[in-house]
């Protein structure tokens, strides 16, 4: 059994002898495109034959339309000459261009004569005054849409843009014996409406209507939403995770002094991270904070806070004034702790923000990256709590198993590296955490209390979720990708 689309059935039923597409459209109530489309399907099933008739189609060109209105140039000239005039007068009347065309045709058709600059009509010319020329008849016929033979239009050819010829392919569709047999076997098509219209609702005619069913598997046009960038969706989620756990968001500058970015975090001034090749420095310098904090930080570096021997070198305030693009959001934590008052403890703070490293660009390296920062100050927290928060956070990101290894950062002790078990079965390193050293906390807060701190990178998690291999894709902004990328569905 041949399967037939609704449209195909209606065409088969409507065919009584060879019919044109327009005729069929009228007979079936389908639009001409649907008829063309369905007929091709019927042909491929051997149910109809399609023969093509090519026909030249004539229409008026720009000059053709003009002459139809104003008359051919030679007609205008004939009228102007009448009993006789001079060539120069005629030129004045018609304009130079039209005068030339008119004269050429008057002469060729022997409608007028020129003697010593005087123009008079010939006998033929006088006759034509009251009779239509073949060109005029052709122009009018084309304008009226009457079919005229190409031969008759020949008189207009070669005269500028009088007529245009386009080819019209008319398809004539006729039913094949196989088609007839199928119809005889009985097919029925629902007759009815495609679209429920306001009129049908107003006059109630929908009650008598039958609505043609849709092919529910048919391909439909794509539409795209306006939306957040997929990476930002992920970041919003991470913010939500910390907010739900009662963390307050930290916000702060991207440009910072080395003092806040490094010195306050007990990173010695000779540390490789402070080399030009790793960090973005600006050409200008910034100001160090007021109050005793600079002296306290200096003392921590040179001599250590209580119980510490410090780094044992001579601390340079000028180096601390160098401006950098923050290398980590931990700078926000340092500034936040310096601002905390005793009565605000315990405090839980977080941020999700852009950080910078001076690095060449390739599929796995970028000079900007996103870091998830969090600190818990006070409340008697300990190392187990640090691991607890980290485990909780990564499980919210879909990594049920996390393991912790020793690590090193100048500003934390204990220091932790976090690996999570990826669903594909391997351990993936996702970032660092620790407890701030007394040499960090004491100068900033004034006393040595435990502070949990973490700052894992986040870009790899986003890449993993969206199956992105090249980290640059996070900033590529391919419009089609932005339109079609699946939503961050964790929540």
């Amino acid at each position: 059994m041949v399967s037939l689309h609704e449209h195909e059935k209606r065409i088969l039923l409507a065919l009584n002898g060879p019919m044109g597409q327009r005729e069929l459209a009228k007979a079936t109530g389908l639009n001409p495109d649907s008829v063309a489309h369905a007929s091709l399907w019927l042909m491929s099933k051997g149910l109809v034959r399609i023969s093509e008739k090519r026909k030249a189609l004539l229409s008026l060109g720009k000059e053709g339309k003009e002459y139809l209105k104003e008359g051919l140039p030679e007609r205008q000239a004939l009228m102007a000459i009448g009993g006789g005039t001079t060539a120069s007068e005629l030129e004045k009347k018609l304009g130079k261009g039209k005068f030339r065309i008119a004269m050429a045709w008057l002469m060729r058709k022997r409608l007028a004569r020129s003697e010593n600059g005087k123009l008079t009509l010939t006998a033929e010319g006088r006759k034509v005054l009251t009779k239509k020329m073949p060109e005029e008849e052709a122009l009018e016929a084309i304008a009226a849409g009457k079919g005229i033979a190409e031969k008759e239009a020949g008189v207009l050819k070669g005269r500028g843009d009088l007529i245009r010829v386009t080819e019209d392919v008319a398809r004539v569709i006729s039913i094949t014996p196989k088609g007839k047999k199928l119809v005889a076997g009985g097919i029925t098509a629902a007759t009815g409406a495609n679209q429920l219209t306001p009129e049908m609702l107003q006059d109630g005619s929908w009650r008598e209507m039958e609505f043609r069913p849709y092919n529910v598997s048919a391909v439909v046009p794509s539409v795209y939403p306006g939306r957040r960038h997929f990476a930002k969706q992920a970041m919003e989620y991470v913010r939500k995770v910390w907010l739900e756990m009662g963390f307050q968001e930290m916000e702060g500058p991207i440009i910072n002094t080395s003092f806040w970015n490094f010195d306050a975090l007990f990173t010695p001034q000779e540390h490789p991270v402070r080399d030009m090749q790793d960090t973005f420095f600006l050409k200008q310098k910034g100001e160090l904070p007021e109050g005793g904090i600079v002296d306290r930080v200096r003392a921590a570096h040179e001599l250590g806070t209580e119980g510490s021997i410090g780094w044992g070198y001579s601390w340079d305030p000028e180096k601390a004034r160098e401006l950098v693009l923050r290398t980590h959001t931990t700078v926000l934590s340092a500034m936040a702790i310096a601002k905390l008052k005793k009565e605000e403890l315990p405090a839980k703070l977080f941020s999700v923000g852009r950080c910078f490293r001076n690095e060449a660009l390739d599929w796995s390296h970028l000079f900007e990256f996103n870091q998830v920062e969090g600190i818990v100050v006070g409340g008697g927290v300990n190392f187990k709590h640090l691991l607890g928060y980290l485990k909780q956070f990564f499980s919210k990101l879909g990594f049920e198993k996390a393991r912790f290894r020793p690590a090193y950062f100048p500003y934390t002790e204990m220091s932790v590296e976090i690996d999570v078990l990826h669903p594909r079965g391997e351990w993936v390193e996702l970032g660092g955490a620790g407890m701030f050293r007394p040499e960090v906390v004491v100068p900033l807060l004034g006393e040595d209390i435990p502070v949990l701190a973490w700052g894992p990178g986040f870009d790899r998690i986003i890449m993993d979720y969206y199956s992105i291999r090249d980290i640059r894709e996070l900033y590529k902004n391919d419009v089609q990708q932005l339109r079609t990328m699946r939503q961050w569905m964790r929540g």
């Binding site: 939403p225 939306r227 991207i254 070198y313 818990v376 090193y408 007394p438 902004n477």
Partner: protein
């Protein structure tokens, strides 16, 4: 991070305990180093920068013997008193004034041992000594050196045969032509006096921190060595010597001191540090007894005596008792801590910028705009493409020339994105929210939106802008302005409560041309923080 290549067999031999590859790699990781590569017998190990003592097969083995329980507690390094003397000339002050030295005798050398000493020296130079800046180490064949020695200075025309050459060269020549001279000349810039080690016979030992002399080089025939460290930081100098001497002693040598008149080096005595066990327990959430803590410290090769910790002379990372606490935690095993969430009730809250950005983004997404994610860094040429001659804040040392300055607005980024997406169907409507940078390193949160399509015009931009601001509860007014990047007569400044908060208009065809755009763009950019304050 610094790495070393070790022979797994060599390491196993030094551990004196059979252990599987997998287990060994795991133990190394849990002790605080990283096995980066396992390639047959060759293993590449990454040590943290605060543990230069792990950057040799000997040092790694020493730590692992403790961690695996083969040999725990403080390693003893006895320093024999000797009659070796050296003199420091006053003239080195302000050049490389800190000095320490030692003699190690009774070494059984072979080419492997020579290579091991060279590797240790190299690793100490690049990591702990910051590429020889803070300290530099020289190792010499004791048999080729006559005591007493002189650490003094000479002028640039002083000549000797440097290692790697067969002819005498002046110091000036060495700094100009010798590969090591060229590499490290900057460390001696600004002086016309050069530090030098001379022996009693006037033989040159070395020109620190550049190069040794050819005459005194260590060979497989060497039985003992003289080793010196000079530098800018006393502690770094002393630590470098201690790490080197500890390894040479592990290799079987006996340590002998060197007398500098007022002081004597090396001192391999452990440093005493008090440790309050309740402090340790409070930080770790454990309830260890002092006896247990002693056991864990011992696994980290830290000794104890009378309630004090004894820190080996080669450990550079123990600044505060907290560092002992971490060693206890590592010995206890990070894997043995039970993660817990503390019961601390606090109220969470979003940042002001974040709220503003999120609200605006919600409205724009609802209006059919796609959000973009962009870099803060851009090219210093960007304003030129916008037809403006603004100067952006420049990075002092950018690796990427196309990203060498900080953006001052978001619109150029959107135009760039539009120019890269010309092959997709229109309309394309984009927005971006992010920080921009103004004069004086001022930062501000901005929002920009652009519509690119055949009929994009002022009216469209204004409709969207009004929809956005209306949704957020603001009523804008507009004043005609002229100037790039907009088309004259089709640009406006946007005001809210009489304050200018942004600009909008049709992008100038000149700008569209600069970005290679074939369709008109209507856009606006707002300072979000200007709306709040």
């Amino acid at each position: 991070m610094p790495t070393i290549e070790v022979s797994k067999k060599g390491l196993m031999r030094k551990l004196g305990k059979p252990i599987s590859d997998e287990k060994l790699a795991d133990r190394i990781a849990m002790m605080g180093a990283v096995v980066e590569r396992m390639d047959g017998d060759s293993w590449v190990i990454e040590a943290f920068p605060n543990r230069p003592d792990l950057l040799s097969e000997w040092g790694l083995a020493r730590a692992l013997r403790g961690f695996l329980g083969v040999e725990t507690g403080l390693p003893e390094y006895k320093v024999h008193n000797s009659s070796y003397e050296a003199h420091i000339d006053e003239s080195v002050r302000g050049i490389r004034e800190h000095v320490a030295a030692a003699v190690v005798k009774g070494l059984k050398m072979d080419s492997e041992a020579v290579a091991s000493i060279m590797q240790m020296q190299e690793k100490l130079h690049t990591t702990h000594s910051r590429n020889r800046k803070l300290a530099s180490i020289g190792v010499y064949d004791l048999g080729k050196v006559q005591f007493p020695l002189d650490y003094t200075t000479v002028r640039g025309d002083y000549r000797f045969v440097p290692l790697g050459y067969r002819r005498e060269m002046s110091i000036a020549e060495i700094l100009r032509e010798h590969p090591k001279g060229k590499e490290y000349a900057h460390l001696l810039a600004g002086t016309d006096l050069y530090p030098i080690w001379l022996d009693a016979a006037g033989q040159v030992l070395s020109l620190p921190p550049i190069i040794n002399s050819a005459e005194t080089a260590v060979t497989p025939e060497t039985k003992g060595v003289f080793i010196d460290v000079t530098g800018l930081n006393a502690r770094i100098v002393e630590q470098a010597l201690n790490i080197a001497v500890a390894q040479l002693a592990d290799m079987g040598g006996g340590i002998y001191n060197v007398h500098f008149g007022e002081f004597t080096t090396p001192s391999m005595d452990p440093r005493k540090m008090g440790l309050d066990i309740s402090y340790c327990n409070r930080l770790l959430g454990l309830s260890l007894t002092w006896e247990q803590a002693k056991g864990y410290l011992g696994k980290m090769r830290i000794g104890t005596s009378d309630g004090m910790a004894l820190v080996p002379a080669y450990r550079t990372d123990i600044l505060h008792p907290i560092d002992l606490v971490e060693d206890i935690a590592i010995a206890y095993g990070y894997e043995n801590f039970k993660p817990e969430i503390p019961q601390i009730a606090t109220i969470g809250g979003e940042g002001r910028r974040a709220i503003m950005g999120r609200k605006a983004a919600e409205v724009l997404a609802g209006l059919g705009f796609l959000e973009c994610n962009t870099y803060h860094l851009t090219s210093s040429e960007t304003p030129k493409r916008m037809g403006q001659n603004e100067k952006l804040i420049a990075a002092a040392n950018p690796v990427n020339v196309n990203y060498n300055a900080l953006r001052s607005s978001l619109l150029p980024g959107l135009l760039q994105i539009l120019s890269e997406n010309r092959h997709y169907d229109y309309p394309q409507r984009l927005f971006d929210i992010g920080v921009v940078f103004g004069a004086g390193a001022r930062e501000e949160l901005h929002l920009a939106a652009a519509s690119c399509q055949a009929r994009a015009d002022f009216t469209e931009a204004k409709s969207y802008l009004e929809a956005l601001l209306r949704s957020m509860g603001y009523k804008p007014s507009f004043k005609a302005v002229s100037g790039m990047p907009f088309l004259d007569g089709r640009a406006a400044a946007v005001y809210v409560k009489k304050k200018k908060v942004g600009v909008m208009g049709e992008a100038s065809p000149k700008v569209l041309e600069n970005f290679g755009l074939g369709l008109p763009v209507a856009a606006f950019e707002l300072g979000l923080e200007k709306l709040i304050s």
